[in-house]
Amino acid sequence: MATSRLTSTDETAAVAQAAAPARKGGAGPPGEPRRIGYLYVLPALLVYGAFLLFPLVHSFWISLYDWNGQTLATWVGFANYVDIVRDAELRSAFGHALVLIFFYAVVPIVLALALTAAMSRARVRGLTFFRTALFLPQVVAMVVVATAWSAIYAPSGVLNTVLQAIGLGALARPWLGDFTWALPSVGLIGTWVEIGLALVLFMAGVQRIPRELYEAARLDGAGPVREFFAITLPSLRGEISVALTLTIVAALRTFDLVYIATHGGPGTATTVPAFQVYHRAFETNQVGSACAIGVTLAVVILLVTVLVNRLAEGRDQR
């Protein structure tokens, strides 16, 4: 994986640089000391600071207040954060995010791993076509994805029609309007979006495992299962960590899909943190609480990213 390689060269370069700061020539960036560097960074930093860093800090500041967006705000300290644990609606929003992580990350990755293992290492004809098609859900606007899947899940939509045609009409229901099934239905859309990403990643990763490893394993009498756990899985560690990061973050950031397909409903059956941020800030005037959820979400995403990367690296060193 080009990405994991990128990280490790970055680190080696950083170490080399620290060890020999005055090193001249050579291929090791970054080059010589130049104060003019600040000037090059400045314009980007100004825009970035004004429209991302400042709002982030401001978000934290607002989160310490009880504010309806218009009248004077009241200082409440960390009460809005305590609410995330106490308030049933918010607790369920974060709970739903966990369910979505299962559908966005766990299901696609496990499935893609199993499929990758089941696929032979033969050269596939038309690989470009398969890869392009499998990855396509990643580039289609979520609004369009939500529209398409709403039609599939509609009361007289494709899914129910198929169920009736194969004699399972009893299972037919308005999927996105059903208290029990709405969340898994939304989750399945996430599975649809992410499975191609995982497959494309793992297929590329498997191509790079030396064939000799498999041949040696077969000579040693390893069956397909041993082969998978002894060779394929460890070799794909980098790809798995990339897939985990991307899919978990996608699950945690789900907004468009929920806003368009269910608006958090029925009731609060599909409400998620990102939706609560919007809902509270712009629909029910609980601006402080909305900011607290936003900040919490940012921290959770940061932790997940660092943690997944650490796990992948930690095992690397063993």
Partner: protein, 275 residues
């Protein structure tokens, strides 16, 4: 390694099955979009004949002509600004050494992990107080800031990979750092640049939350995805119209993707590098 015929068949069966799964909703939308009105149900359709009228209707009734123009204006502005600023910052981080370069770079990387939900609320109130909501600026500036994280990360990686002798030769010829950047290094970096441009364009084009929040009142400033969301609220019964509108909204990105799929995939997967 020898591969049996059964294994080979299994490989294709798996690939074809999941390709069908991936394409099904998209093809469903395409087919519904060209269905004549008499075919229409609430779900997908196999059209009895091809009827392109839905596109005309969606274009007119849904004001998608207007929305596409907005999306193009915002997309081009965000891409242009991001490219300029990220190239300069990436150049400094990738080929120069100055104090605090490392922590500054990490500060930019932070943006890769900050979800919009973490900044959108104060952004709305702050921009409203200076009169920038319901303007193109309110849509453009925050998205430039968001794209700069990836852009700087991506361009820094490119500039680190450029051969040092080239830079030194340019320097010996008396080229300033500015000339070296635009005349020597950037022309060599067209592939890296193209990847960044198409990705930032896609992210901006598909962006929903920012458009929803930053344009609270002025309908004529809606971007294409936002227009589609409101259109969906109005025309739930006429799915052919909705499908046609969806095709209009998705097409520019999908066509670019099909043409440049390798760059899209490589770039999007690299977004996971965070440390």
């Amino acid at each position: 390694m020898r591969i049996s015929a059964a294994e080979r068949v299994a490989t294709y069966v798996i690939l074809i099955a999941f390709t069908v799964f991936a394409l099904f909703p998209i093809i469903g939308i395409l087919l519904s979009a060209v269905s004549p009105p008499e075919d229409m149900t609430a779900g997908f359709n196999i059209p009895s004949s091809i009827d392109l009228h839905n596109f005309v209707d969606a274009w007119r009734q849904g004001h998608f002509g207007r929305y596409l123009v907005n999306s193009v204006v915002v997309g081009v502005a965000v891409v242009a600004a991001t490219t300029l600023l990220a190239t300069m910052a990436g150049y400094a981080f990738g080929s120069m050494r100055f104090r605090f370069a490392q922590p500054l770079f990490y500060l930019f990387l932070l943006g890769l992990m900050v979800p919009q939900e973490g900044v959108i609320v104060p952004l709305f109130y702050d921009l409203r107080s200076v009169g920038l909501t319901d303007t193109y600026w309110g849509l453009i500036l925050p998205q430039v800031a968001q794209s700069l994280s990836f852009g700087t990360f991506w361009m820094r990686a490119y500039f680190r990979s450029t051969p040092r002798p080239v830079v030194e030769a340019a320097r010996l010829d008396g080229a300033s750092s500015w000339t070296t950047l635009w005349r020597v290094l950037l022309p060599m970096g067209r592939p890296a640049l193209t990847t960044m441009v198409v990705l930032v364009f896609m992210w901006t084009w598909n962006e929903f939350l920012m458009a929803l929040v930053m344009v609270p009142a002025d309908e004529s400033l809606r971007t294409a995805p936002l227009g589609l969301a409101f259109f969906q609220g109005q025309y739930t019964s006429d799915f052919a119209l909705l499908a046609a509108a969806s095709v209009i909204v998705a097409a520019p990105v999908v066509i670019t993707y099909v043409a440049l799929q390798r760059r899209f995939i490589a770039g999007m997967l690299s977004g996971a590098v965070r440390e």
